[in-house]
């Protein structure tokens, strides 16, 4: 495996990509490398997916490896379990994370526990890709962030990229992983990052300007967080779209924050979080998903358990509200500058 650090803008040819293109590139590379990789889902084949993540793959790899499916998430994930038992590496797409519930039992009771219950006779190296999150006026059926449901399940890995570079490297790692992975793609930033304001929808990708992504194969290990920016005033722990919102808000407030993009929720890079909180003494957890029993609750508990004597203020969390996702009031729901700003002020008050 080429280690992440060995790939940089300086020593590999790069190409400008948005996140969708990076995902498409990852699938292309993995399908070329491994004939057992197959991808399928609603509208995934000829049309290339409603977000175009699988564009041109059917033409390149044929209908046996890239195909459309019936509108039946239970069938999509159930068939993936059977294909994995055969020896393939299925990468099914669930068109929107909101539609994953009919496939829940196959994912939670079957794919996630197959290795355990068969004492590793059968494994389920499945990567379920699904766009998630709000910010596109998708209403309450095209905007949900259900990641916490999956982090509660023993045997599933949960991965959420926040940039084209990460999306490609993490997706390659997920496909190579021998455990089932749920790969949530923050669709708000499919075509570019944004700064947290709905009327200012996009800026350049930080770290890899303009979304310059190395050509060819590289992977980013699952379970390793990224320090988005170093800082000393407080630690912000977040993932997905909220990485960009946090960056924008803290820059605007002029706070010297350390921002951590978790990249994978399970397995969790708690060490990176601990190290940072021990340094800053303050911690803010941000996610877009609903608040109660959200993954933020887990993060806050872990920080409290591990870093209590380093803390200068109570750990805060900023989240979406405990309502279904509203359509016209979407930007009132979305955690943004006001909600994050208030939490930062409380954290830094003394």
């Amino acid at each position: 495996m080429i280690e992440e650090d060995s790939v940089s803008l300086h020593d590999a040819p790069t190409r400008q990509m948005n996140m969708i293109e990076a995902i498409n590139d990852a699938l292309d590379i993995m399908m070329a490398r491994d004939p057992d990789v197959v991808t399928f889902g609603e509208d995934v084949g000829y049309f290339g997916g409603v977000f175009r993540a699988t564009a041109n793959l059917q033409k390149k790899y044929g209908r046996n490896r890239v195909f459309d499916t019936p509108i039946n998430e239970c069938g999509i994930i159930g068939a993936a379990v059977g294909m994995a038992a055969y020896g393939l590496r299925p990468v099914p797409e669930i068109q929107f994370a909101d539609y994953i519930y009919p496939g829940m039992d196959q994912l939670v009771s079957e794919a996630a526990r197959l290795r355990y219950r068969s004492a590793a006779e059968f494994i389920a190296p499945i990567t379920v890709r699904s766009p998630f999150g709000g910010g596109i006026f998708g209403g309450q059926t095209h905007s949900q962030s259900p990641e916490a449901l999956f982090t509660h399940v023993s045997g599933l890995k949960t991965v959420i990229p926040a940039s084209p570079y990460d999306a490609k490297g993490l997706l390659i790692a997920a496909i190579e992983d021998n455990d089932p992975v749920i790969f949530f793609e923050p669709k708000r930033i499919y075509n570019g990052p944004f700064d947290g304001y709905y009327d200012r929808p996009s800026k350049t990708w930080k770290g890899h300007p303009l979304g310059m992504v190395p050509e060819g194969y590289y992977s980013i290990p699952l379970g390793k967080a990224r320090i988005v920016q170093e800082g000393s005033a407080l630690t912000v722990v977040t993932y997905g779209t909220m990485v960009h919102v946090a960056e924008a808000v803290l820059a605007e407030k002029g706070v010297d924050a350390e921002i951590i993009d978790l990249r994978t929720l399970v397995p969790l890079d708690l060490e990176a979080v601990e190290k940072s909180v021990e340094k800053t003494g303050r911690c803010l957890v941000i996610h877009e998903a609903t608040r109660t029993s959200g993954f933020g609750a887990e993060l806050v508990t872990l920080v409290q358990e591990r870093c209590f004597y380093h803390l200068e203020a109570p750990v805060e969390r900023v989240t979406g509200f405990d309502t279904p996702y509203p359509h016209s009031l979407e930007w009132a729901y979305f955690p943004g500058p006001v909600r994050i700003g208030e939490a930062v002020d409380r954290l830094l008050k003394d």
Partner: protein, 437 residues
């Protein structure tokens, strides 16, 4: 209140309902309950041998009359008749008979083992042995089976070691599944036997996916799966049927209609409206309904469907019409919900007795050989049980190192599971100070 245009309500376009009587909800009820006399005269049991056997490559629609009828080979004198007679040689027939007898002996012994406290739970397949045994013989040895929980006969017919089965049932230190699964939820990859789930019908779409993978790779192996008639009501059944039809998957999907889903009779899965085999019609796939207690008919149906799948003619749904002669499991008391006479009056007889009489009729078997076979089966099971007991029984000892509880959740142990494993091992000292092994 918000101001706005005055609303006048919807335009009344439909008919007036007038003075119709109130609607009435229909809730199915079986024909007899405990204490009731049993009368099976409502069942239409057609004569053996009368149904035509369509070509294996026929259009699915040609099979639809067969989904409403019943394929039978053994007649009232236990002679094999008609176009569905698979014309098996006596050696194969004797092997199938021996596998059925061994399965029954195994079930009886394990049932007693549960009553003796050697395990928590057991499920017999008494009366349904023909379904598993015939299928195992009609398939290739490496065709993949996605079983439900009453297909132990397939493992037995494929020669899986009995002692391994008992080890799994006792969850002892030699349990190949490390004491993680309920008894009877075997997994045996080398024997083409997929890990059993307690969530019902989940294996149906998985079998279709396996079959699709086999087709994707240009393999020649096919997949098969089994559900009870009760769980054919699950969404997974319909997902599997849709996928099987759409991709013309090389799969044989079986509904074992043993009449009872714990205490709910088949009417709660829709049996009063049509047969389970007839569900094939709506999906445009081939369907067969077969006398599940007639091992020759089951073999013939499975062979027909397997040949069809293997020659890229697509999937088949088979309904095995049989009867669950015993309780659902050791935790069930069937006398509380069904007539005691149902079993003895079952008009399609006992699969072992029918094959036995058939073989005797052919001059290939005798009462003496049968008795000897039964003794031999009992001895085999007894020996396997004794051997397995050396590895421990459930509840008598902590058979597996605590660390194994945390293994195989993921391929590699993440930090949080390693921490929890340390905790479990630490707790052992105070929770179980007496257990040394």
């Amino acid at each position: 209140m918000a101001s706005g245009p005055t609303r006048t309500g919807p335009t009344r376009t439909g008919k007036s309902r007038g003075n119709l009587p109130p609607l009435d909800l229909y809730v199915p009820e079986p024909k007899f309950r405990p204490g009731d006399p049993v009368d099976y005269s409502h069942l239409e049991i057609p004569a053996a041998g009368k149904l035509a056997r369509p070509d294996e490559g026929c259009a699915a629609s040609e099979t639809w009359p067969l989904t409403l009828d019943l394929i039978r080979v053994l007649d009232e004198n236990d002679a094999a008749v008609g176009a569905w007679n698979p014309n098996l040689d006596p050696e194969t027939l004797r092997r199938m008979l021996a596998s059925m007898a061994l399965t029954r002996a195994f079930d009886d012994r394990m049932y007693r083992g549960q009553r003796q406290g050697k395990t928590s739970f057991y499920m017999k397949s008494t009366g349904e042995e023909a379904v598993s045994i015939a299928c195992a013989h009609a398939l290739a040895f490496d065709d993949m089976v996605f079983p439900s929980y009453r297909q132990q006969g397939i493992l037995i017919a494929r020669g899986y070691p009995l002692v391994e089965m008992v080890n799994q049932i006792y969850s002892n230190r030699a349990d190949p599944l490390k004491g993680r699964q309920l008894p009877i939820m075997y997994s045996a990859k080398d024997y083409g036997f997929f890990s059993i789930s307690g969530n019902l019908a989940t294996q149906f779409p998985q079998a279709v996916g396996w079959a699709m993978a086999s087709a994707i790779k240009g393999d020649t192996r096919i997949a098969t799966s089994f559900v009870g008639e009760g769980s054919s009501a699950e969404g997974d059944f319909h997902a599997a049927m849709t996928f099987a039809a759409v991709y013309n998957a090389p799969v044989v999907l079986n509904v074992v209609n043993n009449q009872w889903a714990i205490s709910s009779f088949s009417g709660f899965a829709g049996a009063e409206r049509t047969t389970f085999a007839a569900r094939a019609a709506g999906y445009g796939i081939a369907g067969l309904r077969v006398d599940g207690n007639d091992i020759l008919a089951v073999y013939a149906a499975m062979e027909w469907a397997a040949n069809r799948a293997r020659s890229n003619q697509g999937p088949t749904l088979i309904e095995h019409f049989t009867y669950r002669a015993e309780g659902h499991s050791t935790s069930d008391d069937p006398t509380a919900y069904r007539s005691a006479h149902e079993r003895e009056e079952w008009p399609l007889g006992d699969p072992i007795m029918r094959l036995k009489k058939h073989l005797i009729g052919l001059g290939e078997w005798s009462e003496e050989r049968h008795a000897e076979m039964d003794r031999d089966a009992a001895e085999q099971v007894k020996a396997a049980t004794k051997e397995a007991e050396k590895n421990g029984i459930l509840g008598h000892g902590l058979h597996h190192p605590f660390h194994t509880m945390f293994e195989d959740v993921f391929e590699e142990l993440p930090w949080h599971l390693e921490e929890q494993a340390d905790q479990a091992i630490r707790e052992r000292q105070s929770k179980f100070p007496d257990w040394k092994d």
